[in-house]
Amino acid sequence: MRVADEDQRDISASLVGDGQAFARLVRRHQDAIARYLWRFTRDRAMLDELAQDVFVEAYFNLARFRGEAPLLMWLRTIATRVGYRYWKRRRREQVPGVLSLAEMEQVLANPQPQLSPEEAGERLHAMLSRLRPRDRLVLTLMYFEELSVAEIAQLTGWTQTLVKVQAMRARGRLKKLLERSEERR
């Protein structure tokens, strides 16, 4: 799949300094990027901030966009990097997780049909937030985004083998976390 004509036109114009053309690109793709970044944060203010970071980074790297894949795919690669960096920064700052281990027990215990999509999103996000950023990233993309190994490899820059290994380890760590919470019951 190649770049859409309207994107290509605006990219070319942006590269020669047409700010309006880049603003059009932002407006065209901002909702798709926000939807993707919603997996990285559920804080509205932070969502805005991360979305801005993605487009600013895209602007300064636009000359490196080769146009072999749709622009949105490239923007999602940048968004993955931005989101991952945000998780790592947040971890260093030691912000407490959204969900305690005791609360996490409820996630699997609660019959899912009773959950609303918002609650399910909230709980899944909270559960994955207990993991290390690398584990969290691979499981987020695999479950939340329902991406294939090849797509995850493209977004993260990892090899497909690494994605598979990382996913297996991450699932193992998540299982351990859940078992530990079971033992505490």
Binding site: G19, F22, A23, V26, R27, Q30, D31, A34, R35, W38, R44, L47, D48, A51, Q52, F55, V56, Y59, F60, V107, L108, Q112, L115, P117, E118, A120, G121, R123, L124, H125, L139, Y143, F144, E146, R171, L174, K175, L178
Partner: protein, 84 residues
């Protein structure tokens, strides 16, 4: 139900969640304007270098200028040096 199946089901439900929309185009353009290196930068560098060169020339030219302006004082200064 295994953990993996539970996770898959939970994610399936979570994907139906409506996600918020954003309007960041204005903020992005403002950030870009702020972060973009100024196009006047080469001019500023040339101006700075010219000013530095002018200061050096002025320093060395100051003596010559004073001598030309007041030759007697300059001559007495030289005499002082000789008398010492």
């Amino acid at each position: 139900m295994t953990d993996d199946q539970a996770l898959t089901k939970l994610a399936e439900l979570a994907r139906q969640e409506p996600t918020p929309t954003v309007e960041v185009s204005f903020a992005v353009m403002r950030q870009i304007e702020y972060a973009r290196p100024s196009t006047d930068r080469p001019l500023a560098i040339i101006t700075g270098l010219s000013a530095a060169a002018a200061a050096i020339v002025l320093y060395f030219a100051a003596d010559a200028w004073l001598t030309w302006q007041d030759p007697i004082t300059a001559m007495l200064c030289s005499m002082d040096t000789v008398m010492q």
